[in-house]
Symmetry: C2
Subunit: 189 residues, 2 copies
């Protein structure tokens, strides 16, 4: 077995992972990252974000060759024409994706080979809040449910520990459950 094969687990280069962790332990200032999205309204409920550059490890990261374009929309009942998933659905995707990657990375670090990670997320919303019809219901989801099915070469207890640790370390889970301060500024010319 080659060294490369030995260090890749669940598609994650664990040798690189542990080297990264050691580097950040030694130089905590390298841990400051900034991610960004630039959005432009197109028409109605249709808008598009462009995502490429970010700041990481002491400088602007230029490793991405292409930008990502993400189109948002609304279904007909919310006055759109399905030009993309709606913003609340994108939030569910962000949460599912982050929990999944956290689980996969934790498993790789703990020498567990996963065979599948699947999840279904649901968000319940009383749209009277966001539509401005009633002040009582909140605008966003009242609750989110996340049902995971995880399989791999470890006993059930170990797999559950990995999911729990993944949840505890997920960036988006932290933000969605605990909230983040958001500063909005506006120019009009």
């Amino acid at each position: 077995m080659s060294v490369a094969t030995d260090t890749i687990r669940n598609g994650v280069d664990t040798e690189k992972m542990f080297a990264t962790l050691d580097l950040i332990k030694a130089q905590p200032e390298l841990a400051q990252f900034q991610f960004r999205a630039t959005n432009r309204w197109i028409d109605g409920a249709h808008n598009r974000s462009t995502i490429k550059g970010f700041y990481a490890a002491g400088g602007e990261d230029t490793s991405r060759s292409d930008e990502f374009e993400l189109d948002a929309g609304e279904p007909a009942i919310l006055l759109g024409s399905d030009t993309g998933a709606n913003p609340a659905e994108y939030l569910l995707h962000a949460l599912a994706a982050c929990l999944t990657t956290s689980i996969v990375y934790v498993a790789a670090a703990r020498r567990v080979e996963l065979t599948s990670v699947e999840s279904t997320l649901t968000g319940d919303m009383d749209v009277r809040g966001a539509l401005g019809v009633d002040d009582e219901p909140r605008n966003g989801f009242e609750r989110i449910g996340a049902s995971f099915r995880v399989t791999g070469n470890a006993p059930e207890e170990k797999l559950r520990e990995i999911v729990e640790r993944g949840r505890q370390r997920s960036a988006v889970y932290d933000m969605v459950t605990n909230g983040v301060p958001v500063a909005v500024d506006v120019t009009t010319d």
Copy 2:
């Protein structure tokens, strides 16, 4: 000018908008919606969400003909291969998209024709939290900045009011700033 032209503002059918608001005022039980995302791990930091069905206005909505597929990833420095925007970037997009649509809908309702809505969102993160190197930094963004530029056929004060009202009614802004309870359950077979 035709009736249709008259009711469409900013790409939003305001006649349909006011009819929807009246219907939900009269029958608040129609305001219960559920959105969903199903995610599947592919390899490493690569996973994919599929989004299509949702519950709205008293029944399963079947108006969407196609599903949306969203691929997540991580850049090289976070052990991925850029198979998509990363989960935290998707959260920024969700927030930008929701604020933008809220602004556009509020403007349509208030008879303001917008010419542009552009925004740049930034999220600052100390990745020691999510990487499990240090318990002190939180996992998610410490703060999010959202810079909007909004232009249209209204004075600055009116445009600022519209942005403020859009912020107050945005579903994702509410969730990201105030947090949402998330219940995670797991099966392993």
